[in-house]
């Protein structure tokens, strides 16, 4: 799938190097196999010819690879310089990497987590910073990546050329959940993008929409169902009693869940650190409702012995 302005050229260069190297690999392999058969030892005490070398050959097989190498270098450098120098008329999107999620912000202020929506055929520039360690934003379908380095801004640009949904990955190792620090780039028609930007969501089933949001906002990286995460398991929480750090308990109802998403530091569950970021301004009311519906659906899931968010199952649970 080639989905950006760079993809075609990167792939063309890749194919060129592949053909060139394949030619030399096959040539040398054939020569070796040919020689191994042709000059195999015929009698035990036989010796080979007394040859020192050939200066003309040496010059030849030094110069020819050098010339080819310089050719490949020049083509690659041309792509790279184009990639590193962004055009002037770009759609600027701000990106922040942190262990282990991506936060992105559109020019109009709309924020996303682990999702990037962009219009097709428009130059997009990402302005990237990191809150902690080095990450790397990589979209294989676009054939480009760039490190996201703490303490400085890196930029990368591309022009998506096909609508669709494409995986993006963190490709610089960044600790425990490096492998799940990914998401989706959605390339849309400009009109669709404009309406998305104004904030409509087309999901119908709130539970499945909520489940998707749970992954999209990376809730699942800490709230691990078996209780081994940095945050309590949410299995069976809804409707149950939650023991807080100050010793009091609270019933996990819709209000509590909403508050926990928007002001996570207001009520800290006993035994856990206040590490959850606030999602205020990142999430629409509709999305909170969907998430609540999903957390409700976890009521019937098995509660782990350790790491549970709930001290006592809901009284009326069937």
């Amino acid at each position: 799938m080639q989905a950006s302005n760079f993809a075609g050229n990167v792939d063309a260069l890749f194919s060129f190097i592949l053909m060139t190297t394949l030619f030399f690999a096959v040539l040398v392999t054939v020569l070796i196999i040919f020689a191994a058969f042709k000059f195999r030892r015929q009698s035990a005490n036989e010796v080979g010819d007394d040859v020192h070398g050939n200066n003309l050959l040496e010059v030849g097989w030094t110069l020819i690879p050098t010339i080819i190498a310089i050719g490949i270098f020049a083509w690659g450098a041309a792509i790279y310089v184009n990639y590193r120098i962004a055009p002037k008329d770009t759609l600027d999107i701000y990106l922040v990497g942190k262990q282990w999620m991506w936060k992105l912000q559109q020019p109009n202020g709309r924020k996303e987590i682990n999702e990037l929506h962009i219009p097709v055929n428009r130059n997009v520039k990402l302005i990237m910073g990191s809150e902690d360690v080095i990450h790397n934003f990589y979209v294989p379908a676009f054939r480009v990546k760039m490190d996201v380095v703490p303490g400085r801004y890196n930029t990368m640009w591309f022009r998506p050329t096909k609508t669709g949904k494409y995986h993006f990955f963190c490709s610089q190792y960044c600790g425990t959940n490096h492998a799940v620090m990914g998401g989706w780039v959605t390339v849309m028609e400009p009109a669709e993008y404009a309406s998305w930007l104004s904030g409509e969501s087309g999901d119908v089933n709130p539970v499945s929409a909520g489940e998707r949001l749970f992954t999209q906002f990376a809730c699942n990286t800490c709230h691990i169902p078996n209780g081994t995460g940095r945050a309590p398991s949410l299995n069976g929480v809804f409707g149950g009693n939650v023991l807080l750090a100050d010793g009091s308990t609270v019933v996990a109802d819709e209000t509590y869940i909403r508050e926990s998403i928007l002001q996570p530091k207001a009520k800290i569950v006993g035994g856990y650190q206040p590490v959850m970021p606030t999602f205020q301004g990142l999430i629409t009311e509709e999305q909170i409702l969907n998430l609540t519906a999903y957390i409700k659906s976890l009521q019937s899931q098995p509660v782990p012995a350790k790491g549970a968010g709930v001290v006592q199952a809901p009284a009326g649970k069937k």
């Binding site: 190097i17 036989e46 080979g48 690659g76 790279y80 380095v149 995986h167 492998a179």
Partner: protein, 561 residues
């Protein structure tokens, strides 16, 4: 084919370095370069199997996209400790400290290295460094990646970073001392007649390697010392929160760690340059060019380090310059490959196990070297950087190249080291198993890398699974290929057929003394009157030289061949 011995059964020499003295003290306090080489052999093998165990855990875990075997933290520890054990404690010391130690004095006709006690010291330093690293592995493990990138390693990691950094720091001095010893030895202790251009290319390769060891290792030592101080005492060298620069760490780290790749591959090239002439019974084609290529690689290898950093946001024009230099360093490797190939033409080629490893090396190094062009080229690196393509590429160089060279060399010199032959057919089968297992393991990683699978992932999208299954299947074949030589070489050291002085026969000085050699290497200091790999002016080898000149007047001492 090598002729089977027809003469009377050979006997081991009565006195040699292995039975000169007995007891644990005679080994732990030895200054004999050959015994120190065996101490290194035991210790690098130990670390190889530790690293291999981690590799098996990685491959088993990646069998399925969600990986049920390990938690993310455990997986991250596995690949990190695999890298640390293999690179710092196996690959870097493997050929130089084992074979270089054993062979350089023998090859140049010296009694020992220039500084025998420093040689022993370097082994002890290696062991102390290894102990610190093992401590890290046992007490919580290490999860920073073998590259120790900051600020992950200095601020955010919860694993035992400090002992590992100290361990790698310490073991670097072992490398520096070994390099220094080799340089001084080659300069000052060559036998009469052993001019610079009569040196075996194995010695040239180690000469070039030693330069890299001496110039590069101090830089990584400083870098790791700074990182250690940042982690332990909170000094802000690399942590941007304290005004440091995380990219500076990468510059310093790769300034050593890219040349370190040449510490791993140059000695293997040296081994191949011995194997091919011996088993083709022909001079190495273009001796001077191959020797010069080793030096060129060592020098240019110091000028390419930021090709590991093309997507860090470094200056565009710096990246362009370093990409250009990277392409230049590819040329001497190509020259070597062409010369090895040309050597085969007009030779008398046998297919003994060491030669099979040499063929394996040529094929795998070719793939490894050529795929480096995809990564050195800026336009393709922005796509495949930090994907499995990179993993496959450097395993083709370091395992396909360096380990094939290491095993080929071990088989070739095993009769010299132990005085006994390994079982030939079993060894040939093992070489095939290794070659097939290796390709099965690592070739699919090129494909999955091109598709965009990033490296160091404990879980991956299901579309990548088929390649990972192939890779894991191949790794289990590869494991058999490593265990077999381990077992039969050990067996052969005690029960193998007695080899005699020069079973192949080969032209080097190391084959002009008994096997195993005396503690002093030679009865009398040899005088060299021939060029390296010259089969035509060596009547003592007992070979049929065309034209009657130097026809075999005397059979070799042991009656073999």
């Amino acid at each position: 084919m090598r002729a089977e011995a027809t003469g009377p059964a050979l006997k081991l020499p009565e006195k040699h370095y292995l039975n000169a003295t007995y007891g644990i003290r005679s080994w732990l306090l030895t200054t004999d370069h050959k015994r120190i080489a065996l101490l290194y052999l035991a210790s690098v093998t130990f670390f190889f199997f530790i690293g291999g165990f981690f590799a098996m855990m990685i491959r088993l875990h990646l069998l399925t996209p969600n990986g049920y075997l390990l938690t993310p933290d455990q997986y991250n520890r596995m690949f990190t400790m695999h890298g640390v054990a293999m690179i710092f404690f196996f690959l870097i010391p493997s050929i130089p400290a084992v074979m270089g130690n054993f062979l350089i004095p023998l090859m140049i006709g010296a009694k020992d290295l220039a500084f025998p006690k420093i040689n022993l010291l370097s082994w002890y330093i290696y062991i102390v460094g290894g102990a610190f690293t093992l401590w890290s592995m046992i007490s919580g493990g290490l999860d920073t990646g073998w590259t120790f990138y900051t600020p992950l390693s200095t601020v955010y990691s919860n694993s035992a970073v400090a002992p590992a950094v100290v361990g790698v720091f310490i073991t670097g001095f072992s490398s520096i001392l070994t390099g220094l010893n080799f340089l001084v030895t080659v300069h000052t202790m060559r036998a009469p007649g052993m001019t610079w251009f009569r040196l075996p290319l194995f010695v040239w390769a180690h000469y070039a390697t030693s330069i890299v060891m001496i110039l590069g290792t101090p830089v990584v030592a400083i870098t790791l010392a700074l990182a250690g101080m940042e982690r332990l005492f909170g000094l802000g060298f690399f942590n941007p929160a304290m005004g440091g620069d995380p990219i500076l760490f990468q510059h310093l780290f790769w300034f050593y760690s890219h040349p370190a790749v040449y510490i791993m591959i140059l000695p293997a090239m040296g081994v191949i340059s011995e194997l091919i002439p011996t088993f083709a019974r022909k001079r190495l084609f273009g001796y001077h060019f191959v020797a010069a290529a080793s030096l060129a690689i060592a020098v240019i290898g110091f000028l390419v380090w930021t090709h590991h950093m093309f997507v860090t946001g470094q200056s565009t024009y710096a990246a362009v310059a370093f990409s250009f230099l990277t392409f230049l360093v590819a040329v001497p490797s190509a020259v070597k490959t062409f010369n090895w190939t040309a050597t085969l033409f007009g030779g008398s080629i046998s297919f003994d196990t060491p030669m099979l490893y040499a063929f394996g090396f040529l094929g795998l190094f070719l793939v490894g070297g050529l795929t480096g062009l995809f990564l050195g080229s800026l336009g393709t690196d922005i796509n495949i950087h930090d994907t499995y393509f990179v993993v496959a590429h450097f395993h083709y160089i370091m395992v396909g190249g360096a380990v094939m060279g290491y095993l080929g060399g071990l088989h070739f010199w095993w009769p010299k080291i132990t005085g006994r032959m390994y079982p030939e057919w079993l060894a040939r089968i093992a070489a095939f198993i290794l070659f097939i297992g290796f390709n099965f393991t690592f070739f699919p990683q090129f494909l999955v890398g091109i598709m965009g699978m990033p490296r160091r992932y404990h879980t991956y999208p299901p579309e990548f699974q088929i390649y990972n299954v192939m890779s894991t299947a191949g790794a289990s074949i590869l494991a058999v290929g490593y265990l077999l030589p381990m077992v039969y070489l050990t067996w052969a050291a005690f029960y193998g057929k007695v080899a005699g002085e020069n079973p192949w026969p080969a032209t080097g000085l190391e084959w002009k003394t008994q096997s195993p050699p005396l503690t002093e290497n030679f009865d009398v200091t040899p005088v060299v009157t021939w060029e390296a790999y010259d089969f035509h002016n060596r009547p003592d080898l007992g070979l049929d030289v065309p034209g009657g000149k130097g026809s075999p007047a005397v059979a070799p001492a042991h009656g073999d061949d």
